[in-house]
């Protein structure tokens, strides 16, 4: 009814209790109406007493009446929890504050405005907001990028230490998620349980859209973050207020970005031409011409190109050709010249260059006669005997063939790809080893054939098969009926590359006999969801499929690797060699890929089994781009070394334990979304919040909880504006304790005076 009352009283409804102050007056008046009559002889003494006491009695009665009224009025005021406001002169006051500063340190805050990055301005603002706090006020500072971290976890009352830490805070290379930062601040409020009445969340950020939106939709939170917000806002009286101070980046929004750097072929070999593809973007509004870009390998400039015209919203790829002279881990980067947002002008790549990629071919039907064994054609396709003499391009795969009887003794970790060709039986311990091998990033290729019992495979290798093996189809007669591969079903990435090779139609590849491939029985699983058709027959039935399993992949082909059940090795067009190589290279998961991450993710490195104990003993130190060493956690169950999520973009380096002192590189790139300096208006942000609790928004919302437009205030970016806004919502210094104290004192005084005035005398 009277909204202004909420500025002065926490429980304005209880002010009605002040009417209780009239109770003593009413009692007094009622007493005058209700009396008993007494016939009294000693009237002369009574009148004499009345005459003597009349004036004093009235004053005493008045004093008692006023005290009683005051007690009840003060009690009602205390229950209404009044607060003295700032700007009330001598009575000025302010209640204690618990303030959570959410400082956006995403890399877009590195936007240089007026000669200094926005982040420096944000820090100045944060320092002022800490500086103006009163002793007893609590403050926590959160740095918000991909992840939110507490800057000063235990010093909320030590303002000087907080200021020192804010001044020392560094910009990260992460992107922002401001709703997530607000959720974290709510978690702080819930966990800290500060007794200070006022809870303030002050977000200091820039004006970029990417902090609030992704793909034109509001950034969403997970259920645990939603719970924290709901908890913080469930009590309307103690809920926090959110201020968002958005620093202006000026009118210049021009920004060029080195968006990505990749190798064309995933498996890179030494002394072979390697194509490195870099993508550049213009996220500004004006075209840029003659943009120089430089390729760096292991810290040295190795190539320079110029982009003639880089237009807004039209990414440009630049392909650098480079030959790595030696095998090993290499650090590659591509750079543009610094602009107003210099953080995003470099993209990084860590790549492993190999002399050869070893493939273990387990032949289930080895014969002495040349080209009669199950995998003879396959081995020839991977590494043609006469390639060097013919002057063919160097193929990276180096197959080693063993019989199925030798499989139990093979060390799978020495190979990047294991091929099973018509292998009838696999010992149980080797099946387990194959599972671990694939889970850790290895590639497994299974060819079927006449030695395969589908029932045994479906049972023993169930975890490794992308699809179940069904009944055989076809007679296996090269002169009889056959099925053709489809020229249409070529969506698999490896086959899509094959499609680009002209003159190699798929329909020329015939199948005389095959096992039907049937979907896995489970309703849903991560593995089943990743199953893809690699090769299909003209009727759409799959003849080859693959599946992701852990870090690695498995491919199952429903026919033979040799000519027994198909014509592939002898196809007229010579499709077999490129097909086998493309599929093998696609199946192999280069180990360096998991060492290329986005800022905010963790690095992982799979150690050779024999190195794990040594790594645990000696430890692995990762050196960050700024030269600081960080310890990696070595897990002897997964045979891997992992880091915490990284916050800086660039090349990281680790030296593995052992005599060789092998150096391994890791690369962290920035999320390119943050590079877009497009701004979001205040009303657009407000549009993602409901006007009132329970009402709908026009297009999505940040929070499922009822944070309304009133709960979040967008302010200008100067301190005085923020301070004015803070004061406007200040609830003042609470004085209910003083009022309760006054009530108690008055009760004592009333009791004393009443006795003294003879009120209670009997």
């Amino acid at each position: 009814m009277f909204p202004w009352l909420t500025s002065f009283f926490a429980n304005p409804a209880l002010l009605g209790g002040a009417a209780a102050g009239s109770i003593p007056v009413i009692i007094h008046l009622l007493n005058k109406q209700r009396f008993k009559k007494v016939l009294w002889a000693a009237m002369h003494w009574l009148w004499a007493a009345q005459k003597k006491a009349s004036r004093r009695q009235r004053i005493e009665q008045l004093i008692l009446l006023l005290i009683r009224i005051l007690i009840l009025v003060l009690l009602a005021l205390a229950l209404a929890r009044p607060a003295l406001q700032e700007g009330m002169g001598l009575l000025a006051g302010r209640t204690s504050v618990y303030r959570v500063l959410v400082l956006d340190n995403s890399y877009s805050m590195g936007h240089v405005v007026g000669g200094q990055p926005l982040f420096e301005k944000a820090k100045d603002l944060a320092v002022q907001l800490v500086d103006k706090l009163n002793p007893g006020d609590e403050v926590d500072v959160l740095l918000c990028n991909n992840s939110t971290e507490e800057l000063t976890p235990t010093n909320s009352l030590k303002h000087e230490e907080v200021k020192r830490d804010v001044k020392a805070a560094a910009i990260s290379d992460g992107s922002t998620n401001l709703p997530r930062g607000i959720a974290y601040a709510c978690r702080m409020i819930n966990d800290r349980k500060s007794k200070n009445l006022r809870k303030e969340i002050i977000v200091i950020t820039d004006r970029t859209r990417s902090g609030w939106e992704i793909g034109g939709q509001p950034k969403k939170l997970d259920s645990s973050e939603e719970e924290q917000i709901a908890k913080a806002f469930e009590d309307p009286k103690s809920k926090p207020k959110i201020w968002v101070a958005r620093l202006s980046g000026g009118d210049n929004k021009e920004n060029l970005v080195a968006a990505s750097l990749e190798v064309e072929e995933k498996v890179v070999t030494a002394r072979a031409d390697t194509q490195l593809a870099a993508t550049f973007k213009n996220v500004g509004t004006q075209s840029a011409s003659k943009v120089p870009v430089t390729l760096m390998v292991d810290g040295e400039k190795v190539a320079r190109e110029e982009i003639p015209l880089l237009e807004p919203l039209k990414p440009q790829s630049v392909v650098f050709h480079f030959t790595f002279p030696e095998a090993g881990s290499h650090a590659v980067s591509v750079q543009m010249e610094p602009d107003l947002l210099p953080n995003d002008n470099t993209a990084f790549l860590a790549v492993d260059v190999e002399d050869q990629v070893k493939v273990l071919c387990v032949d289930g039907q080895q014969r002495v006669t040349p080209m009669q064994s199950e995998l003879d054609h396959f081995r020839q396709a991977l590494s043609p005997t006469m390639a060097k003499e013919a002057g063919a391009a160097r193929l990276p795969l180096f197959p080693e063939v063993i019989s199925d009887g030798a499989l139990p003794d093979a060390n799978l970790d020495n190979y990047r790809l294991v091929v099973l060709g018509n292998v009838a039986l696999i010992p149980p311990d080797k099946i387990e080893a194959l599972k671990q091998y694939v889970a850790r990033g290895g590639a497994l290729w299974i060819w079927l054939g006449d030695r395969i019992d589908p029932a045994i495979y479906n049972k023993d290798l169930a975890a490794l098969l992308p699809m179940l093996i069904g009944e055989p189809v076809g007679q296996g007669d090269p002169e009889g009926a056959f099925e053709k591969l489809s020229d249409k079903e070529m969506d698999h990435p490896a086959i899509a590359k094959f499609r680009n090779i002209k003159g190699l139609p798929m329909h020329e590849l015939h199948v005389f006999r095959r096992f039907k491939l049937l979907p896995r029985p489970e309703k849903q699983s991560k593995e089943k969801d990743s199953v893809r058709t690699v090769l299909a027959l003209e009727d759409g039935e799959p003849i080859a499929c693959d599946m992701r399993l852990g870090e690695g992949r498995v491919m199952l082909v429903g026919t033979t690797a040799d000519k027994d059940w198909n014509n592939w090795p002898g196809a007229v067009g010579g499709q077999y060699l490129p097909l086998v190589n493309l599929l093998a290279l696609d199946l192999i998961n280069p180990s360096y890929l998991i060492r290329n991450r986005v800022v905010g993710e963790a690095f992982e490195y799979h150690l050779p089994r024999e190195s794990v104990s040594e790594a645990r003993r000696e430890g692995i130190k990762l050196v960050t781009p700024s030269g600081e060493p960080v310890a990696m956690d070595v897990n002897n169950e997964t045979f891997s070394a992992v880091t915490k999520p990284v916050s800086k973009a660039g090349i990281y380096t680790a030296e593995l334990p052992g005599e060789k002192k092998t150096v391994v590189h890791f690369a962290a790139n920035r999320n390119a979304e943050e590079s877009d300096l497009d701004t979001i208006d205040d009303h657009e942000i407000k549009a993602y919040l409901p006007a009132n609790a329970g009402s709908a928004t026009e297009r999505g919302r940040f929070f499922e909880s009822n944070i309304t437009q009133e709960d979040l205030e967008l302010t200008a970016d100067d301190y005085s504006s923020i301070e004015t806004s803070l004061k406007k919502h200040s609830s003042g210094k609470e004085i209910w304790r003083w009022l309760i104290g006054a009530v108690l004192v008055l009760l004592v005084v009333e009791s004393f005076l009443a006795r003294r005035f003879g009120d209670y005398a009997r």
Binding site: F35, K37, H44, L46, W47, Q50, K52, A53, G758, A761
Partner: protein, 172 residues
């Protein structure tokens, strides 16, 4: 025996006959409290009327000005009478124990008073004690026995106690 209020209402001369006692008891049984008392003036009047030296026993609440009362009593003593004053008071009149709003309606023409008696108790008791003290002192100076009697106490007990005290003092 004399019955009086603001004047002498009944005067029965002294006599030793049994009929005289019956007459006194009859009068006492039929007397009705009436107008405001003017005890001091009546004492003077009586002192002149009673010619024979004797024992004057005054039974009254003595609600009058103590100076006038004592002056009247002195007159009795001047006429060589022995005087005993029994002041008869109700227990409420001696303690004033009221604790809620009360309308006091006065006998003897006093104006009624509505008040919170708790607030007047102190003043009332001061008045009562001052009066009693004055009477005690005045009577003692004039060798008059002053005996306050609380109506809540049995009369025989009070009289026995007084007579015993009087007997003791006569033998000393």
């Amino acid at each position: 025996m004399v019955l009086f209020d603001n004047g002498i209402k009944k005067f029965i001369p002294a006599s030793a006959s049994p009929a005289h006692l019956r007459l006194i008891l009859h009068e006492l049984a039929n007397v009705v409290p009436d107008q405001r008392t003017d005890v001091g003036t009546i004492f003077h009047d009586l002192a002149e009327r009673i010619k024979r030296k004797g024992l004057i026993v005054i039974i009254s609440d003595l609600f009058d000005d103590p100076e006038k009362l004592l002056f009247g009593l002195q007159h009795f003593r001047h006429k060589r009478h022995e005087v005993i004053v029994f002041q008869i008071l109700d227990d409420f009149e001696m303690r004033f124990p009221f604790d809620s709003m009360t309308l006091f309606e006065g006998y003897e023409g006093w104006q009624e008073l509505l008040c919170d008696p708790r607030a007047l108790r102190k003043g009332y008791m001061e008045e009562y004690e001052q009066f009693t003290e004055k009477m005690k002192r005045g009577c003692r100076n004039n060798k008059i026995d002053f005996v306050p009697i609380n109506t809540k106490n049995p009369l025989d007990v009070v009289l026995s106690a007084y007579l015993a005290t009087r007997l003791n003092s006569k033998f000393k």
